[in-house]
Subunit: 428 residues, 2 copies
């Protein structure tokens, strides 16, 4: 790899992403949708470039494998920083209040799309008339890709709309964080089904519990350290740098030792540092580092990594159904689960729509499971990669559009849409 090319990719992505973001905003769409579209366009332009002429290689984008790893790393730092910032900005008291609602919403938001995805995939595999255990497992695994919400895009959209700290916004973010955990537990259960070894399920659940015990335990110690530090050296660079270190450490530990997504670790790190005197000071640094370079790369990279080369008409049909089931499953599952917790119809739909976005976790689930699928043999196999990428791209574009429409609708009879900013009611 020539390191110098990275500068070219960074320049192209930043300039494209911001320009398309601004264009999207001008068209009444959220900036993040524009950034994802910028990524798709950059990715498609790269496809045309198949020779080594200097001019072409600089107009179009075609990173090699090593360069993709670097861009992917920037993109992963981007999503981790988004979740860290969202954790820092979390109001713990609100999270506690929305805890039960968020958990139930997350659970149904995982189970309904998983079930729909499994049934739909079985249909496409001709699995009802020609059933086999392999087909069922592959279908369940494909359904599991639909489980985990990617909260990054939603959080950015909610921030842009000024609704992040609203009751609906907080519920979406809490549910999305919890559904990530549930989704990864679901994946672990599905993969452990393969050998018929049910002891793995217990270990997986134990690991998830272990992660929260670990992050809260270590988090309390580190919080005490930061409290001492902000008292002794208020508003110092060291505070933000150590906070960054803690964010990355939690992200690493979550995935490495507990099998929990890195972004969940970053979110927990943010929560453990929320509400301190220097929290806003640290958050501003995180936000600047994020929007200057990492978040535009994260959003564009979702579009850039899309590969549309394996497309056929029947696959496209499968993909469209997969996307539709994934989106409807979240809206129906989360929306119905939200209703009993005192949300009005429109608010319930908004929560469902806020949960439709899929991102890097869906791809992570795909890659964790695809090795398993290969072993099960190619019989009746439907490779869900392109469908997953379609889901990520379409849901990432659709989610902010739907949220914006729902939040920007005429005020309800309750008056001004500040209604949504009311404080949380007690749990039912």
């Amino acid at each position: 790899m020539e390191i110098i090319n990275i500068f070219y990719y960074l320049a192209v992505i930043l300039i494209f992403a911001k320009s398309f973001g601004l264009l999207a905003r001008k068209l009444g769409l959220p900036q993040v949708a524009g950034m994802v579209i910028a990524g798709v366009i950059i990715g498609l332009l790269g496809k045309f470039h198949d020779d080594d002429s200097v001019i072409l290689s600089t107009i179009f984008m075609k990173p090699n494998a090593a360069e993709k790893e670097v861009l992917n790393a920037f993109s992963q730092v981007g999503v981790v920083l988004i979740l860290f910032s969202s954790g820092l900005e979390t109001n713990l008291d609100d999270l506690k209040k929305s805890g039960l609602a968020a958990t139930v919403i997350a659970l149904f938001g995982v189970l309904v799309p998983m079930a729909l995805g499994t049934l739909g995939t079985l249909l496409f595999m001709n699995g009802y008339s020609d059933f086999s255990r392999e087909k069922l497992l592959n279908a369940i695994f494909t359904g599991t890709i639909l489980a985990a919400t990617s909260v990054g895009i939603t959080v950015e959209t909610l921030k842009e709309l000024g609704k992040l700290n609203s009751k609906v916004g907080q519920t979406i973010v809490s549910a999305a964080v919890i559904d990530d955990v549930i989704g990864i537990i679901a994946l672990s259960i599905v993969t452990s089904l393969k050998g018929g070894d049910f002891s793995q399920i217990g270990i997986t659940l134990l690991k998830a519990a272990g992660f929260f015990a670990f992050s809260i335990g270590l988090g309390i110690l580190l919080r005490m350290y930061f409290k001492w530090e902000e008292h002794k050296f208020p508003h110092k660079r060291r505070t933000s740098i150590y906070a960054f270190g803690m964010c990355f450490l939690f992200a690493f530990c979550a995935e490495k030792f507990f099998g929990i997504a890195a972004i969940t670790g970053a979110y927990m790190a943010g929560i453990m540092l929320s509400g301190l005197e220097d929290t806003n000071f640290v958050d501003r640094k995180v936000v600047v580092s994020g929007y200057m370079i990492f978040s535009p790369i994260f959003f564009s990279y979702i579009g850039i990594s899309a590969d549309f080369s394996g497309l056929s008409w029947s696959y496209l049909l499968f993909g469209i159904c997969f996307v539709a089931l994934g989106i409807l499953g979240k809206i129906v599952g989360c929306g119905l689960a939200a209703k009993p917790f005192g949300f009005k119809n429109k608010e319930s739909v908004t929560i469902g729509c806020g949960m439709i976005a899929r991102g890097e976790v869906a791809l992570a689930v795909y890659s964790s499971g695809s090795a398993l699928m290969m072993q099960e043999g190619a019989a009746g196999r439907v490779d869900p990669l392109v469908a997953t990428i379609m889901l990520i791209v379409i849901s990432s574009i659709l989610c902010p559009i739907l949220l914006k429409l729902l939040f920007k609708e005429k005020p309800t009879e309750n008056g001004e849409n500040g209604d949504d900013n009311r404080t949380l009611p007690a749990q039912p």
Copy 2:
């Protein structure tokens, strides 16, 4: 590569680098020296780690090749941002005034260490009694590694000491930028000597001239755009993001099309955007992104990438001489060249000491030349890689220490050491 490991390395580097930086400051040393030492320690700890146990792999640091590429990319973005910021903070009028002095200082700062390095290497190759054209070429090439100053560490140190905008500080930065260009021209000449094809020299000089014409031409156009933008949308995120894009684009174009180091491109981008109304606004974003994540990685990475495994006693002796010649060559060459331009003795020595730091450009020169050396046959070959790394580590540690000592010495008879902040005299 597991992307998740990157988070571990980022966390370890940030926490170690900042802690050693603070420790260094407590000991009266500049923070950057602490950060380089942190890198050496991280690198050495990694050496002990030769098994795959989870605990060891998380206590020690041993990135694989792909992970090193990612860390290297972060580190390169770090040095580019340092130079971009330094360009933004440049006072163009001052640079114009110090232009001739800086050029002459840079020229002698390249020629004297090159000559000393060549003679020293010949001596170690036993080249005086057993002369061959290959040995001479290899020696000249080894000497060329000593040419280019790495201004990153010096700029950070000068900033820390509050001397970046002093007459001496500006002269060092200008000379270091110019000496980078001269150093790369020198490398091109040396490599072109091999085939006896002197037409390459003309092309190299043409390319350097072309780069400055390009960067000034495009820079003026972009400057007009930024002026329009800051007028229409003052203090907007887009301004900083587009400025980042321009920085990376200039860095890329400099190296890709003109064979000039990327950091020179970033510096030129900074200069072309200096003195605008939003320049400080952009610079603050660059500084935050830099110190939060990229600069600590840059400084530590110099230490981390050091590999002391190929050491023998005779090689160590060569290395020590190489380092000594490299450091003395800069102090003598630059110091003597500075004297006629109205600098006092102590100021001349300070300029020389400010130029001793070597960094990524020295390694780039090494790697550009090492393929050539292999072709010349192994006869009398001294691989200068470890010596180059020794030079980078020692000069990076020594440069800030010397600068700090020289700036912090008792006021001269001229009175307060604010003397150094006087405006520039007219050229002699």
